[in-house]
């Protein structure tokens, strides 16, 4: 079942067009990667989905059109966007950051989910009252992921989670993502510059270049294709 569908989507920053007719889908329970060089439009694609950039074209999530909706609506519908730069609330505590994840959810504060986060990321319990801005880069990335998970999303948008992180932390992070995908059926749209790491977690991938989709296919095939790797993925 298709959870997210982008059909011929354009996006612009002011007068500059950053995406040209991008189409992609994410199925329920899938992990899909968006790859490409710097400036290819990967981040813009995620922004187009969450509604934080001007866009046109068809964007449908779980049967609802996102066309004229802003990011707040997306959050309410079940999209969790972990943006470039993590979007941590640096002056608030770790605990408050997590509470904010549950902001859009109705009803009382989901204690059980909060406990679940403490299990998934044990170090949080020790740092609950610490200011989020004083955490290390890796911890902030984990915190951002945890916050997104507190939204109990159906679709997780991850923007370059590996950026600036040590390989062990990157591996840990993706291990958690894979686990959530297997155990809870969480769908993920993953933007990564580090294609190797993305192929390990995503079943399918799209490759962007200058705002257009130039390639798509199963991870296995793409990573085996030498010319693809060299031309678009830089390795």
């Amino acid at each position: 079942m298709t959870l997210l569908e982008l059909d011929d989507v354009d996006a612009r920053y002011g007068a500059t067009r950053a995406l040209h007719g991008v189409s992609l889908t994410v199925g329920e329970g899938e992990v899909v990667a968006v790859l490409g060089a710097n400036g290819a439009g990967k981040t813009t694609t995620l922004r187009a989905i969450s509604g934080t950039v001007r866009r046109s074209g068809r964007i449908v999530f779980a049967g609802t059109s996102l066309a004229r909706k802003g990011p707040e609506a997306g959050a309410r519908l079940g999209i969790a966007h972990v943006p470039e730069g993590r979007g941590t609330f640096s002056e608030l505590t770790v605990r408050e950051n997590l509470r904010l994840g549950a902001y859009a959810r109705r009803g009382r504060f989901p204690r059980a989910d909060y406990e679940g986060m403490l299990e998934l990321f044990p170090w949080i319990a020790r740092r609950e009252r610490q200011q989020a801005g004083t955490l290390s880069g890796g911890e902030q990335q984990m915190l951002a992921l945890a916050r997104a998970l507190m939204q109990r999303p159906r679709l997780l948008l991850l923007d370059e989670p590996s950026l600036g992180l040590a390989p062990t932390i990157v591996n840990e992070l993706f291990r958690i993502v894979r686990r959530l995908n297997h155990e809870e059926g969480l769908s993920v749209l993953l933007v990564e510059q580090n294609a190797a790491v993305a192929f390990e977690t995503a079943a399918r991938a799209y490759v962007l270049e200058v705002g257009r989709v130039v390639l798509t296919g199963a991870s296995g095939e793409l990573r085996r294709d030498e010319s693809v790797r060299r031309s678009y993925l830089g390795y």
């Binding site: 990011p71 707040e72 309410r76 943006p83 979007g87 941590t88 408050e96 902001y103």
Partner: protein, 293 residues
Amino acid sequence: MAEFLQQVVSGLATGGIYGSLALAIVLIYRSARVINFAQGEMGMFATFIALWLIDSGWPYWWAFAATLVMAFVGGVLIERVVIRPVEGAPAVTVVIVTIGLFIALNGLAYWIWGGETRSFPSAFSTRAIRIGGVAFSIQDFGIIGVSLAAVALLFLFFRFTKVGLGLRAAAVNPAASRLVGVRVGWMLALGWGFASVLGAVSGMMVAPLVFLDPNMMRPVLLYAIAAAILGGLESPLGAVVGGLVLGVGLNLIATYVDFVGETLQLPFAFVVILGVLLVRPAGLFGRVAVRRA
């Protein structure tokens, strides 16, 4: 010694008044990076409304509460109608809009109620109370109490409620707030609402002391600005502490430094403003930040 204590207590009372208004200024500054120059006039206007209610027969505390509610609504409306269209504009542009508000509200007060000074009832008895042999004014304690209560309630709201968290998040990182579903625009409006409430408290506390007229809040605004800068424009705690320190400081200087006396209080506040901005712009509690482009 007795006089010193008296001056300290009455300084804390006026300090509470300055601190409430200073907190209002800081609240809006933190969430929108803008100084609302009309904050004092908004408080003045609310005080006039309170007087109108009282004159119509409302008991004091009912009028007080109703005024706070109306001040809140007024603040939210002003933000949505007047400030929202210039939300993305440079801070200077928004300042000019608040100056327009300043002028218009002042004029509106003159228009509706005229310019004569009126007396405003005090919530507290003006009798003296003796503590340790020193006579203090009950009213001063009352003002300190109300100001601190308003500040404390607001603090509790921000700290422990979901909406309060949303407000703080919107101030700290509006983009990320949107992503978790916080309606940042409305958070800004709520911020203005709360600031307006603080301004109303400040106005209703100062009115019995200086009598109510459309220009009543001008000096209070300047002292509040000085207090906010002294405490650090980003720091709510700083605003309150700055207000109290300024209130006490002004009183003591007025009493013990003849040159300044009663007559040079405003220039003194100006010197404080300029001094802090030049020596330590972050104020007592602010963080020293790198200059942004």
